[in-house]
Amino acid sequence: MEYTILILLLPFLSFILIGLLGTRLRPVVAGAAGTAVTGLVAVLSYWTAFSYFAAGRDASGVFPTQMPWNFEWLPFGGSLQIDMGILLDPISVMMLVVISTVSFMVHIYSFGYMKGERGFQRYYAFLSLFTMSMLGLVVATNIFQMYVFWELVGVSSYLLIGFYYTKPEAVSASKKAFIVTRFADLGFLVGILVYGFYTGTFSFSPDAPALGAAKTVLPLALGLMFIGGAGKSAMFPLHIWLPDAMEGPTPVSALIHAATMVVAGVYLVARMFPLFIGYAPDVLHVIAYVGAFTALYAATVACVQTDIKRVLAFSTISQIGFMMVALGVCTSSDPHAGGLGYMASMFHLFTHAMFKALLFLGAGCIIHAVHSNEMSAMGGLRKYMPVTHITFLVACLAIAGIWPLSGFFSKDEILAACFGFSPVMGWVMTAIAGLTAFYMFRLYYNIFWGKENRELHTAHTPHEAPKTMTVPLIFLAAVTLAAGWIPFGEFVSSNGQAYHIHIDWSVAAVSLCVAVAGIALATWMYFREDRKVADSLAEKFSGLHKAAYHRFYIDEIYQFITHRIIFACISTPVAWFDRHIVDGFMNMLAKGTECSSWAIRYIQSGNIQKYCIWFLGGVLCLAVILLLVF
């Protein structure tokens, strides 16, 4: 499996080449090079997945973990060292497939979407950088390598959100994303250091004595690591950057802020799952509660947003909440007794990546057609954009959890795991699933049905997107239709042994009923051209509506805390200290240096006799000092 190194090297080379040559390349060439490389990476990833799973299970019934590459990069003495390499196990192989597929689709799609944009080459260079970083993150052989690529992913996300750097909103959104996730990564780093210090290794699976020695601090270390994961995966209250990140180009939102980077936190928890289960089950349950709250919060907010990308952003936050909950409700590593959630979470990650990317790419087509993100500019678009319409509908049905689309299967497993944990959790998550169906169909009806904005549409008739954009939609829709039938448990499960998925029909029936009810409610409220019900409800609960529209003022709270408390009470005094005491010391140092430099300039007189005197004087002084001391 040595060739897997190419999966990382190829996009890296493409980044270097496209980045260095820049505008010297024709846009088409840069795009084609990036796309070709990503296509090759996708093929390699599929081949890796195929040969990995085809190699079969070992004697204990699990797919063996392989490290085709692993070299020591930075030794610290003792056993502690940082390695760099490639680790293949069921979840990393699964992620390779997800990332390379979505990335390839986004590369193709961007040809149409970004056509004629300034900085087309730069865009493709950054996409390659992101792809390389994300792939490196999932195949990391140890927690530190993961951290390195984790930060690289953060940087590429920053660069791509701020792609339209002449737009102030994009600039501040990219800064916000970077600062919030960096802030969370601080927790991750401290967690890694605590982990490395006490276990003496950065490996994902330390040996038993090391773990025994570190037993008491492992919950702390894992909890800190989860903070990093929560930042990247936009868990409440660190979610505030994700909606703003929608300022980036839409294909970027599809790739980074829907399908791949934002699930890095989920992947992190899954990667550390054996340690969570063995040593910090309480932390795992905290993760479940955080995830559930985030899912509920984001779903509520998504119900009233009018910017279609914001709706999708909140929907993403909510769905990642589902994945976190699924991991958090695990109570053992046996999928038959409390470990089902692990498989469910990974399954949902897989299906969600496909249909959420599809939704975002569809939204991109719509924005491309009407030149606005606002629902008010849309309505009745189904007749102008048939392909987008159908594929969007498929994705909406999938996320709502309608049989036989992929979302149904993965969500059903999550709900079953939740019910296994506690009935309350089960019902809450079921209700959120209903809410999901509702807001997704509110979005769908507002875009494709309802009242058409004739004024706008006569001035500029919406049209179907070009082939480069619709082909990825069709491909992803096909995956969404089929992915549910993948026997996912045969590949990925919490203890690595084959798990045969069986639909729990009582749970499935309840969730289906709730989903249908959500869709029905949305149909009743938004299908017709007049929105009497919706408007009167909004008026009746205007307080709640307004609060939800403003995302329950979380951003304002942050604003208050940062500006009024941190800036005013901490930063201002620190700034004064810096300006007067620290700078004062530095200025004094500089002045002192300058003065003494001036004072001693006569030593260097250019006179060789004097040089010899200094020489001899120096020797004798040294000798005298040494003789006096010893």
Binding site: T593, W598, Y611, F615, G618
Partner: protein, 481 residues
């Protein structure tokens, strides 16, 4: 005593020196007998010859210690590493010197330059491999006397003649002191063999005196304060390529030898020489920085920079540990590539602009010669120790080596001086990038040798620090110290 000298190991242990002598002889004969056509390809011929020499010796073999002539000459794999590094540096200097050696007034001295340079290199090799103070002294003289000729090779230029005079006079003075010190050793220990002396060193007053005198001799070559005063004048007056050779190769060899002798011979006087080095380090780093900040001539500026760098190198020596030895070799390697890059740029600019080496002449260089300006910047960043360039890692390792041995205050002083040094390194960068200039040095294209050498140096600056294999590889051999 009946002493049977065993010559069987000569070819295995001394193959580096023997092949270098062969190179020198070939260069000498070529210079004598080559015709007009032959002289035109003298430069590439020498570069290829050096390359072959390096290729033949780069892997230290045999991989075990050996000695010759009853212990006069010692062989260790780590010496082989250091010799290879010095040879690579010499090759880079050769690559950079074509423009200068092609001038009308110097072209007939081309052969002299090669032979003299390689002779000093041979001297350094013997100095490194010495197992006896006599051998050591002969090696050191062989490294010094031809150097004086090199400094004064442009003898009709006033500056060069002055530089040569200052160099040879100071060298004589320091050699005298050193011999004086060595004679005390012989008086107290009764031998000059390194291996026998180690046990007879007891730290008596006379031995302290002789330690200081001996140290002054090497301190001159490394140009440590207060033995440094010749440095600025000589660096400024000597041809730039000679200056770069002097500042890197000569200094590196002396620093390495100093560490070997201090650890191996003066192991019993470790407290004494640590105190001595402590004082000298503080003085060197600080005084050199104070002078560097007000230099207007880039060669003088780099002279003081190299004095302060020598102080940093001593931080590795003061630790006296194998880790310190590894850090020292690593530091010398990185200092070599960065400094040679800087001198390469200076030499190239000097040759193409009619001798401009002033700081103000470099104003606006980035606009006309962006590649050279960037090369210079990266070299200076590395010298200043800014991550992620190699200089950061080498500084980190020597600080760590000294810190581990408990020299906390010293490391702190060195850190403060690093901040000060940043100021003057950035002054040059500011001149090249920011300061406006109506008539900057016009754009030009350097010769192929210089370009190759600069690419090599830049690759070193960018890669050596990040490739952990280099440090580990050196470390593998250094534990044989």
């Amino acid at each position: 005593m009946d002493m049977e000298i065993d010559f069987s190991g000569v070819l295995t242990c001394m193959h580096t020196e023997i092949s270098l002598v062969a190179v020198i002889v070939v260069a000498f004969l070529y210079d004598l007998f080559a015709g007009k056509r032959g002289r035109e390809i003298f430069h590439p011929f020498m570069c290829i010859l050096m390359l072959l020499f390096i290729a033949a010796n780069i892997v230290p073999f045999p991989n075990e210690d050996g000695e010759l002539f009853g212990g006069m000459y010692l062989y260790k794999p780590v010496y082989g590493i250091v010799k290879s590094i010095l040879a690579i540096g010499t090759l880079i200097v050769f690559l950079q010197s074509d423009a200068w050696l092609s001038r009308e007034d110097t072209s007939f001295k081309r052969g002299e330059f090669y032979v003299l340079t390689l002779s000093t290199l041979l001297g350094m090799y013997f100095m490194i491999s010495a197992g006896h103070f006599l051998m050591f002294f002969i090696g050191m003289e062989l490294a010094t006397v031809p150097m004086a000729c090199l400094v004064a090779i442009d003898k009709y230029r006033h500056n060069a003649a002055e530089a040569g005079a200052k160099f040879i006079l100071t060298a004589l003075f320091s050699s005298g002191l050193m011999l004086y010190g060595i004679s005390f050793f012989y008086g107290t220990a009764g031998t000059l063999y390194f291996s026998d002396m180690a046990s007879r060193i007891d730290g008596s007053a006379l031995q302290i005196m002789s330690l200081v005198f001996f140290f002054a001799g090497l301190g001159f070559k490394i140009s440590l304060v207060p033995f440094h005063l010749w440095t600025a004048d000589t660096y400024q007056g000597a041809p730039t390529n000679v200056t770069s050779y002097l500042s890197v190769i000569s200094k590196g060899a002396a620093a390495f030898t100093l560490m070997v002798v201090l650890v191996k011979v003066f192991g019993n006087m470790v407290e004494q020489w640590q105190l001595m080095l402590y004082i000298v380090i503080v003085l060197s780093i600080t005084v050199a920085n104070l002078f560097a900040i007000r230099q207007k001539d880039l060669k003088r500026f780099l002279a003081f920079s190299s004095i302060s760098q020598a102080g940093y190198i001593m931080l590795a020596v003061i630790s006296g540990t194998p880790y310190g030895m590894t850090s020292l070799i690593f530091y010398v390697l990185i200092y070599m590539v960065a400094n040679l890059a800087a001198f390469g740029v200076i030499s190239s600019v000097e040759q193409h602009s009619g001798g401009k080496v002033g700081l103000d002449d470099y104003n606006g260089l980035y606009r006309t010669n962006p590649k050279l300006a960037v090369t210079m910047t990266l070299a200076l960043f590395s010298l200043a120790g800014i991550p992620p360039f190699a200089g950061f890692f080498s500084k980190f390792f020597i600080f760590a080596a000294a810190f581990e041995e408990g020299f906390h205050v010293l490391v702190f002083i060195a850190l403060i001086n690093t901040v000060i040094s940043l100021y003057y390194y950035l002054l040059v960068v500011k001149a090249m990038f920011i300061t406006p200039n109506d008539s900057p040095i016009p754009a030009f294209r350097s010769d192929a040798g210089t370009r190759i050498s600069l690419v090599l140096c830049l690759a070193g600056v960018l890669v050596i620090g990040l490739a952990s294999a280099v440090f580990d590889g050196i470390g593998l051999f250094s534990f044989g110290l």
